[in-house]
Each structure stands twice: as C-alpha cells, then as structure tokens.
Amino acid sequence: MTGGLLLVAMAAAEVQRFAVVVGNNEGAQGDDALIFAEQDARKIHGVLTELGGVSLMNTRTLLGKGRGDLIREMAAMQGPIASAKQNGNEAVLYFYYSGHADEDGLHLGTTEVAWSELSAMLDRSGADVRVAFVDACQSGAMTRRKGGARAPGFVLDLEERLDARGSVVVTSSASDEASQESDEIGGSYFTHFLASALSGSADADRDGRVTLAETYRYVYHETVFRTSSSRVGTQHPTEASNLSANGELVLTEMGRSGTGTLQLPGENAGTFAVFDVERRMFVSEVEVAGADRQVALRPGRYLVQRRLPAHLSVAEVQLAARGVVRVEASQFRRGEYESDVAKGSIDATIRTAKRPKLSLRLNVAGRAFSDPVVQTAYFPTTGAMGVEGRFDWREGQYVTGDFLVGSGGGSLSIEGLDYPVAVGLDSTTFGVGAGWRSPEFIVQAGGGVHLEAFWLRRRFPDAGVPDQELFSVAPGLAGWVGVHPGQWQIDLQLRVHYLPYVVDGRDLGMGFSELMLGLGYRL
C-alpha cells in the first residue's frame, strides 16, 4: 500500500528537459573556418525539440556567438531549471556544441571556454542530469579529464522519474583526433550520425525509443566506420559518465505529437539517406537489413536516397504530423548524381559558407598632404567621416569599398603675403581596396592596395576668389591594425596615396595620407 502511494506521487512529478545548443563556424587563430558547424547545431536543435521532449521555451541556441554569450545563456538557464525543481520536477540539461576546440577547450570564434569551465557551468546548472554532446576536434580531452565510465543499461522513459543524478559527456573524437566535416553528407560525421540516431536509426530494439546507450553505440559505430577511410584518419567518439542511475536515459521517442514516421520496409535492404528538402540537410541515415525501420521526422518533404555505384535511387515523400509513410521499393526512381537535389543543396550551402563575410565600419579620419608646402599653401589638414565595407574571404583576402566626406577650414600661408588666407576645404572620396589580413584573432592586421577617387573644393570666404575644385584618382597603399572582440572591430588604418597632379608647377606626387579610426561590426 505504501509503495503504491509512492508510485502515484512520483508519477505526478515531471521530467523537464532543457537544451543549450551552440554552433560556431569560426575558430581561433590558425583554425580553418568550418562550413557546417552552425547548420549541425540547427539540426540537433530540431531533433531535440521535435523528438527529445525539449520545449522551444527551454532551448537556447547560440550560432556564431562567443564566450560571453555562452556564459550568459548558461547562467540564464539556471533560473528555469531551479523553478522546475522547486515545483517538484526533475531536470535534464542537454548541451550540444559544434565548432572548433583543442585540448584546452572550446574555440568560440576568437574567444575560448576551457573544458573545466564548461564542466563547471554544466554542474552549476542545477539539472539533475547533464548530457553533453561535443562535436569538435580533440573533444575527447573533456571526457579524458572527467575520467568516467559507461553507465548501466536501464531504460527511463521521457516522462518517467529519472531516479538518476550526474552527467554524461559524449564527444566526437578522442583527445588526439580531429573531427571531420564532409561535403558529401553536408555536415560533420558525428552530428550526422547523432541526428540519425536520435531520429530513430539507433533504435536497435525497435521499441520506438532511442536511449543514450543506443545513441552512443550507433554514433560510435557509424562514425568510426565512415571515417576509417578518410584522409584525416579514423575518428573515435568517446563517452564518459558519472551518472548514478537505475535505468537508461531515453533521449528521443518516435511518434511524438508534431512528428511523422517514415517506414522503410525490411525487404528493401540497403543504406538510405533522408534529406530534408526544406531545410536542405540530411537528417538521417538508416541501415535496413531484413526488418522494417522507422525514422521520426517533423512534417515536411523528404528525399529518401539510396546511393548505387552508377546512379541514385530516390523516393520523394511528403510527411504529415502523426502521419506514417511507408516507402515501398516501387516508389524509388532512378536519379542521376549530376542532378542530385541534395548534393546541389549542400553545394549551395558550401558556396554560401565560403562567401566572403561583410563587415561595416564607421571611420573618422584626418587627411594631410605630405608636402609641407602643399599643406601650408594649398590644402591644410582636415577631418572627414565615412563608412567602409569590407568583404573578408576565409583564406585571408579582403576587398574594401569606402567613402569619406569631410569639411573643414584653415588658413593658407602664401609666400609674399603678410596675412593668412582663410580657406574652407570640402572633400568627398570614394575608394576601393584589396589586400591580405592576418588570421582571425582578437588582434588583427592587414595591408594592401587602395585606389581613391576624390573631389576637393577650396572656398575662400574672405578673399573674393571663386571656389576651386580638384578631381583625381590616387593609387596608394593601406595598412591597418585592429582589435576584433567577436563581431565588433576597432581598427586604426593608415592610407598613403600617390597623386600625380601638378598645381602651379608644383608636383603633388608625394600625395596625401589618411589616418582613420574605425568602429566596425561584422554581419
């Protein structure tokens, strides 16, 4: 009798699930920018919210953000978790990261978060169970430090009492290994198989629920298998756990409201990749061998592909919420690799990722002519303001476009005149430049060539002399050094221009220089 009351009381409590999903294509100095890290984060965000019981309200997704944002969001998650626990509920926190890392920690763009810091943040979250998936090079350093062991294999359903405490960390590679992205699958191997696992591919016992153990087994096997022939080397996911549990943790459940089920009949054996046409990404990979397999997906249009040596075999399906679509062998049509929609979409994603990044900056400049006589007798030093746009390629090249407008005054000192001649100076310049910059780091520098078309006007308010104008194009050099904390950029730039123009028999070839301070933001 007493035991029965306890079960009722326990059933009244809920398990609330929270998630912090982080993706960052940018890394620290020397890291090649990734293409799919942020897309992978979006993929996992989708799986967790659609199949994993994590509400959108309890999810924080950080794409391309830095250390400060992560610390803020992790701290912000503590409130809802504490609130859930005060109401008698239990909390599970999922943490997913896709991006660069090294043996010391995560590289969130140019900022870093040490493995120990990340562990501390997870511990401080207050969640009863913390599950971290870290898809990054040398991410095994995190599990190695934790020194945990595999958890026992019991099953705890999504809505059941956890009866578990502790944390689990699954990493994409060992502490001395690289984690790899693949243009073929449009993402990292680890996340590709993690998403496949969570959507049902890992459901080995066909009970419609994917547990942590099933997930790890599936991801480990598939990742090792797929990367064993790669040029970079085999990638071995790791797992560490200090979970004290009386059962296994269910991560996702098929047939949840808002999702549909794709059935692949056992008689049509092979490996099938499922491509989400709307989100332009592979969302699952399913091995069919003798028995039917099910994959839970959000409603939408999907391509189910089977890759054959000479061609593709493709079935297109439309999946509705709570709908079940069985993809029979007869639905598959021959498709050519050249017209593969999935490949085209991935290529488009790659092209987009490889596009140069645009940053905009507001510049405040001082412009001075190099020849002292020109400066004192023709064009006194003036100030100017303007904007500059810079496209940065991943490989370090950049091009710029800018304009400056200036207006100022001063006085000219003319030989033979005892009085200064008051002069006003207006200017408008348009410039283009190209150059190379140092690798992404908090302090950056760059240099290159710059071509400036400029218009100058001299006004003589007291002298009764008509306004004078000068238009020319001046080639030159530009160099800059800046501090780039995250998206923001503060640059000090010096430009020197040659000016092949003659005024009153004086060659202005020494040209002019512009020293400017810029505040920029990378879009």
Partner: protein, 302 residues
C-alpha cells in the same frame, strides 16, 4: 588604362595664382627696408674732435641720412598698412585696397594696375565733403629678375597731405630707386618746407652695394662753428668694413665766394684717420696714406 591614367592626372581649377598675384602687386610697392639710407649705422667711434674720434663729416652725414630716412619712412608708412590686408577687389591686372580711413580723416584707397612687368600705383583719398579723390602718393615700379628686384619712382604730394591735415607745410618729395643690385636712391625735395621754414629744394643721392657706398648731398651747416651757416656739399665714399672718405665744399655764409674744401678720411668705426683743408681752418692730422680713397671727389649725381 588610358582612362585611369587620365583620371589620375586629375583635373580642376586649383591654383594659388590669385594670391601669388596679390603677392606680386605687393612686391611692386616700395618698402622701408629697401629705401633706407644706411650710412654710418656701423660706426662706433666716440663723437669728439681729433684723430681716433668720430669724423665730424661722418656725423653730419649720419644726421642728414636720418632726416632723409624720416621723410621717406613717413611716406611709406601709408603703404605699410595695406600689407596685412587682402585686396578689396581684383581684376586680372589690377588690385584695389580700401577705401579705409587714414590719418587726418582721409578715406583712402590704394589702386594698382599692371602691364607686363610695369606696375603703376597711387594712393588716392578724400575727406568728407570732397566729391572726388585726390592723389597724394603715386609711383611706377619696373620689375626686374623678380618683381621686387626692380626699379621705380614714387612721388609724395606733401602739400596735398598737409592741406588735409591742416598743417603749414608743403612741397613735393620724389624718390627714384633701383633695387636690382644693392640700394640706389635719388631723393629730391622740391619747394619743401616744414612749419616756419622757407621752401627749398634738396637732393640726396645714395648708393650702397656689398663692395662700396656713396652718398652725396647739399645742405646748410655751420661747420666752422662761426655761428653763420654756409652752403655745404658733401660726398661720402666708403668700403664697408674698411673705412671711407668725406669731402666737403663749403661756400656762402662767411666764406662769401671763397670755397673751403675740407676732407676727412675715417676707418671702419668712423674714427678719423686723416684730415686736411685748403684754408688751414683745421690742422692737418694723421697720415694721408691711411685714406681708403686717396683723391678728393665732388658731387656727381645731383
């Protein structure tokens, strides 16, 4: 590429020519430092009588030079005021400064015109109630290797100016100058008088290069301390930093038709090294071999 080069060459109207022209016009005006008689400025000998003391004729010439400089500077002061101001109007070959209020309530203007390297200029003005401008100072400047290094002449109507100022003075002062090599001035006063004086003509010729100086003039002075001024003609010649010679011819006054010729040679500091006269009014002193110029000389330019 051709277009780019063309653009790079630039186009526009930027030029300081209007202001350089202003400077040229101003350079055509005589300046005080160009019109100064620098006689005896470097002499340091004590003023007393005798060998080794400052020569009396040097003292006389310094006094005369100071007076002439006073005339000239007084005239040129009128021009100095415009140098710190931009012209009020410009044409391609003309400038106008003013009108501005001058001394003695005169509204004056400086007008300048140019034809080739010849600059004509005049200071005109009027007082309240006068309908037309009158010219009080005018001149012509001929540019040389530069505008400034040229020659010219300017004339001051002292009668006109004195009338505006209500002063009992008058006459004409004209200055012919040549700045092409050193300083060469010919200053003439015609019917010139100050308050209480009788109108008189005076001429002064001054020439100064790095190698030689020459100053000649006529004046009235009591050189023999007789209490009666006589007519004096003086010719000073000198080599800068070495010494010089002054020759005076005195007539009239107590000399009547007789001419007293008095010569003094002096060293770099103006100190007397030799003197002699024809009438024995002074005792011959020093050695004639000390003279920079061995022979006496009379007036040649005036």
């Amino acid at each position: 590429m051709i277009l780019l080069l063309a653009l790079a060459a630039g186009c526009g109207t930027v030029s300081n020519d209007p202001f350089n022209d202003d400077a040229d016009f101003l350079a055509a005006l005589p300046t005080e430092d160009q019109q100064t008689l620098r006689f005896g400025e470097d002499t340091t000998a004590e003023a007393a009588r005798g060998i080794g003391e400052r020569a009396e004729l040097v003292e006389l010439s310094i006094a005369v030079a100071t007076t002439v400089n006073g005339f000239v500077f007084g005239v040129l002061d009128l021009l100095e005021g415009v140098r710190g101001l931009p012209p009020a109007s410009r044409t391609e070959d003309g400038r106008r400064w003013g009108p501005a209020e001058l001394d003695c309530n005169v509204d004056g203007s400086l007008l300048m015109s140019r034809e080739a390297a010849v600059y004509d200029w005049s200071v005109v003005g009027h007082q309240a109630g006068e309908e037309t401008d009158a010219t009080v100072l005018y001149g012509t400047h001929f540019g040389g290797a530069s505008v400034k290094a040229g020659d010219g002449v300017f004339v001051w109507d002292h009668s006109r100016w004195s009338a505006w100022c209500g002063a009992d003075e008058g006459g004409i002062v004209s200055v012919a100058y040549d700045n092409r090599e050193g300083v060469d001035l010919l200053v003439s006063l015609e019917d010139f008088f100050r308050s209480g004086e009788a109108p008189a003509d005076r001429d002064y010729a001054y020439r100064h290069t790095d190698a030689e100086g020459d100053f000649e003039y006529r004046t009235e002075a009591d050189l023999d301390d007789s209490g009666t001024p006589a007519n004096v003609e003086v010719r000073d010649r000198w080599v800068p930093g070495v010494g010089g010679r002054s020759d005076a011819q005195v007539s009239g006054g107590r000399f009547g038709d007789e001419v007293w010729v008095w010569s003094q040679c002096w060293g770099a500091t103006g100190a007397l090294v030799y003197e002699v006269d024809n009438l024995g009014l002074v005792e011959e002193a020093g050695a004639g071999s000390e003279c920079v110029y061995a022979e006496a000389a009379g007036l040649e330019r005036i």
